[in-house]
Amino acid sequence: MRVFKNLGWFFKLEKKSYIIGLVMLVLVALMELVPPQVIGRVIDQITTETLTSNTLILFGVMLVFVAILTYIFRFFWRVMIFGASNRLGRTLRERLFKKYSVMSPAFFGKRRTGDLMAHATNDINAVQMTAGAGILTIADSVITGGAVLITMALTVSPKLTLIAMIPLPFMVILTSWYGSILSRLFRVAQAAFSSLNDKTQESIAGIKVTKTFGYEDEDLKDFTNLSDDVVKKNLKVAKIDALFDPTITAIIAISYFLSIFFGARMVVADEITLGQLVTFTTYLGMMVWPLLALGWFFNLIERGKASYDRIEEIMNTKSDIGTNVTSDVVPSGDITFNVSEFSFPGEAEVSLRDIHFTLKEGKTLGIVGRTGSGKSSIIRLLLREFDTDADNTVAVNGVDIKQADIKNLRQLFGYVPQDNFLFSTTIRNNIAFTNPDINIEKIYRAAELSYIHQDITAFPAGYDTIVGERGVSLSGGQKQRISIARALIENPEVLILDDSLSAVDAETETAILNNIEQNRRGKTNIITAHRMSAVRDADLILVMEDGRIIERGNHASLTKAKGWYYETFKTQSLRQSLSKALDETLEGGRADDN
């Protein structure tokens, strides 16, 4: 029941719908009481030969009214209650989406997409069911059940009502007992089904192996065995599941028998009329559903409560990113790093150590080093994916970035991520991600700067080509270049290329870098890369290893120093020229994937 208290805010919000809905339900319950009464009276008047055509017409008109009113009331309670519960689903979904969109990467790192999705689908459904079917079942049990019970007692006989009700609790007890056995068996059957699912998945993934060894028949036999198991376990469920209907039939039959047996005696004793007995048995049939609904109700709210708690847990999680905003201007200027030691939350290992440098506004910074050397960690700190504990570790124009509104800070950057994530929409919308209404010329311009315009126009649908599973699959290089166009389109103060040129060939890399240099005069660039050629023209190059800066300078000074940078640059240049020679021999046999 606590779930209803927790949902109090919503019921308050939808007070009108629920009150109207419940009033309608009460009216429906009252209307439903009429036909059995009429049936009983008509029968009595026929048997006593007191029926007149006037009464008959009156009864008829009354029932027609009842029929129409019931129809209207029934329609409206559905719209009111189910409509409201759907609005609850909509509201919760909207809130959850909003919540997700303010959470930091640390939040997403700790949770799987599937779980976050489940909150927005299954959990919201369960809560929605509680506010819809849950309210309905309890209202139905109490209102309809109560109304019928009281009417039976008042208009026919309290004694007979009591007798007829004796078997009914057994129905509730038995059906909920079946329910508990069933949920256990169902879990077992579900587990069997999911191993069949796993088997199928594996068989398809390993189809080449199976075909190579010619084990198709044996694999089928294995599948058949698992499938047999699924059938066996589901039939166990069916064995119990099939008990519901006969049990209800049996209990109702007993109740029926009791009411006719004792009712007949009362008719003979003139305590009730024959018509009343008929009315009574008709009412009896109306008690079945409210009783079943009661069992259902507890099931529903139990699920709803668990789901609501899970949703609340997410809604109450605070973002890790501090909101200590003291400045409301968009930061800009020199970028300073003063990190003495930084570890990601929850990790013992130190990710960055003694990172001290200043990147002057308008200059280009290159960061190189092996995978895991800390290149991206620097970017992640700058983007405030994580906050450092110490103050002033990362500052823009001398102001700690923690003091800036994160939205303002983000306005400063144009970011090209490592995984070059694209959305499954058109290429146009992907490039114009920051502003879908942007001038098409600007989109073309950004695509030209990132050397992807020609690739795009070569697609049959051009800029309207859909990206992703439902559309074309792009090569890694194409994705990278579209990501670069997305970052370039707003001509940001600071452009960040996080290992974003790894899948394009050397010539395209040079061309893109040249474009960036020429078109971004006076703006800051940060480039991390595996290939030294990508940072060759940077004003400041940092060489990272194990989270430290091991070399720093520009291309000329680092070449002179003959350290890691120099050695790597030399080998890479040699490889590049060899590979170029090979490609020429192969008549440009490949474009950008290597």
Binding site: V64, A67, A120, I204, K211, L235, D245, T247, A250, R575
Partner: protein
């Protein structure tokens, strides 16, 4: 965004349903029994009001209660209900049994079909959707059989039996109440028409909404860094709102045409019954029992209609699911067939490609006039860039794809004419990405081989040098393998794949070398193992690292589907062509 909702025409629905029902034919016994139970339980069901009617009219109204008659009535009442309860139970249970037997057969058929489909199919169809054909779609059909078909059958029986009883009680009134029939059918048809439309639209919106949500979760970092949270929220709200509006429409439609409407007609039918008997009672005597029974039958007539109409959507979904399963069963992208003229045997293991030209799509030739011969016991290596055609050669050799131009011969016989068994027993393929199955190391090496002993498994592992890492494991050969062998390094997985192939002791070895980075100590082991495997076997090897095939008897350099250079390592280095450049490039990697 597009939605993956299929709408079947009425004709298609009947075709799919018919084909599904055909699956019940092998289970005639169960079907007949279920039907018998259904008939008995329905008949018993209509008996109760009849008995009550007799009691009311013959004994209660005149108020005479001969003990014996009443005894008999009570016995009859109890018997009828006991039989009804038992037969209802068996009828429900048997229909479930039938449903699961049908699904079992359908699943087996579908799985068998997957074994028969060629790689052309798997290239085109994402594996996730094949899996869901076999599991989720078939499950949807189970739901249809159990909740819908059962309900439908019971409904039909109940409707008919109730009408029969009404005719027995009063022919004229029964005829009059028949007028409700077309009204109900009309309502259901209108409902079906609109609900199918709304329902599939709402489902489509739901799947779009979920797709948007999951993509936003995955791309949240990008959304945030570009300050687009507000816009994405708005976009999500739009689709969320649209989804809500469609749901609301469905609620209204249900409210207009389902239970509220049917129940209204029920009350109207009571008006008709009461008026009929009321007016009749002015002319002749009408008994209370008959009115009681008639109303009971009327109610029994309406209840199943309510149930059926509520299940219509499940029914339509199941038909869509079934049609997808049938599309899989009807797919004709089969694996290449063998044309067996004589029981040829593979004896020496000589492989020859003669003027083979091949295209996957019929437009672009990925292999152009390829000819080469691998003499028994020698090694031929294939080198070249991605897309040069090396993998296609192996794909044809393994009969993953059918070729039309040229000929591939083993010991002089076309591989199209060699018995499948003979091919599988004598050709061993080591795949680039060694697939590791759930199970143990033993089961991964042995696979489904029926006669392989543990000793053979162990000696194969020993032969390829996998035993050293296996022996270090806690449970050795019985060590459980987690998902896709993630516990093992890629080198170890490679060694397992070697052992798996060597355990069958093939005459011809096809190697597709892994491109993945392998730690250097395992790399050495792999090289040593490859040398051992190749000796004495006809080997066709794709090499990414040229160092591994320097001792090959012949190296073929492929470019754009053609053999552009051929010879031994030394000859090719002398030639200073493509091979030489590739060799230098690879050696520059320190």
């Amino acid at each position: 965004m597009t939605t993956d909702v299929i709408n079947l025409t009425l004709k298609d629905q009947f075709r799919v349903l018919g084909r599904l029902l055909k699956y019940t034919l092998p289970f005639k016994g169960i079907l007949a029994l279920a039907f018998t139970m259904l008939i008995i339980s329905t008949v018993m069901g209509v008996m109760t009001p009849y008995l009550v009617m007799i009691f009311i009219d013959d004994y209660l109204t005149p108020s005479i209660f001969p003990e014996e008659d009443i005894m008999w009535l009570i016995i009859a009442f109890i018997t009828v209900n006991v039989v009804a309860v038992l037969t209802t139970y068996w009828q429900i249970y048997l229909l479930q049994v039938l449903a699961f037997k049908v699904i079992q057969q359908l699943r087996i058929d579908a799985f068998q079909k997957i074994g028969k489909l060629g790689m052309t199919y798997f290239d085109k169809v994402p594996s996730g959707s094949v899996v869901s054909r076999l599991t989720n779609d078939t499950q949807a059909i189970v739901d249809m059989f159990t909740s819908v078909l059962g309900t439908f059958l019971m409904a039909i029986f109940m409707v008919i039996s109730s009408f029969v009883m009404m005719f027995i009680l009063d022919v004229k009134l029964a005829f009059i109440t028949l007028i409700f029939m077309p009204v109900i059918i009309f309502i259901l048809l209108v409902y079906r028409k609109y609900s199918a439309r709304y329902f599939s639209h709402a489902r489509g919106l739901l799947s779009d909404m979920n797709a948007k949500l999951s993509e936003s979760i995955e791309g949240m970092k990008i959304i945030q860094v570009f300050n687009q949270e507000k816009r994405l929220q708005r976009e999500f709200e739009v689709i969320n709102e649209e989804h809500y509006q469609y749901n609301l429409r469905t609620i209204k439609l249900d409210g207009l045409l389902l239970r509220p409407a049917i129940d209204m007609i029920y009350i109207l039918s009571i008006v008709v019954i009461l008026s009929y008997f009321g007016f009749l009672s002015f002319e002749t005597s009408v008994t209370a029992g008959v009115i009681f029974a008639f109303i009971q039958y009327m109610e029994r007539f309406f209840e199943p209609i309510n149930q059926v109409s509520q299940n219509l959507n499940i029914f339509q979904q199941a038909l869509v699911a079934a049609s997808r399963v049938f599309t899989l069963l009807d797919d004709d992208r089969h694996e290449p067939a063998q044309i067996i003229k004589k029981e040829y045997k593979i004896t020496d293991g000589q492989v020859e490609f003669k003027n083979v030209t091949f295209s996957y799509d019929g437009n672009v030739d990925v292999l152009k006039n390829i000819s080469f011969k691998v003499l028994p016991g020698t090694t031929t290596a294939l080198v070249g860039h991605t897309g040069s055609g090396k993998s296609s050669i192996i794909n044809l050799m393994m009969r993953f794809y059918e070729y039309e131009h040229g000929e591939i011969l083993i010991d002089g016989h076309s591989i199209k004419e060699l018995p499948k068994e003979e091919m599988k027993n004598n050709i061993g393929l080591v795949l680039q990405d060694p697939f590791i199955f759930y199970g143990t190391l033993t089961s991964n090496i042995k696979l489904y081989h029926s006669t392989m002993t543990f000793e053979m498994v162990r000696s194969a592992a020993d032969f390829v040098g996998a035993d050293s890492f296996i022996n270090k494991l806690k449970n050795r050969y019985e060590q459980k393998v987690v998902e896709k062998g993630a516990d093992f390094s890629s080198g170890e997985r490679q060694l397992l794949a070697f052992a798996r192939t060597m355990a069958t002791n093939p005459k011809i070895l096809i190697l597709d070398e892994a491109t993945a980075n392998i730690d250097s100590s395992t790399e050495e082991k792999i090289q040593a193992s490859l040398m051992k495997m190749r000796s004495g076997r006809t080997t066709l090897a794709i090499a990414h690292r040229l160092s591994t095939i320097q001792d090959a008897d012949e190296i073929l350099v492929l470019n754009k589907g053609e053999i552009v250079e051929r010879g031994t390592h030394d000859e090719l280095v002398q030639l200073k062509g493509i091979y030489y450049k590739m060799y230098r490039l690879q050696n520059s990697k320190q």
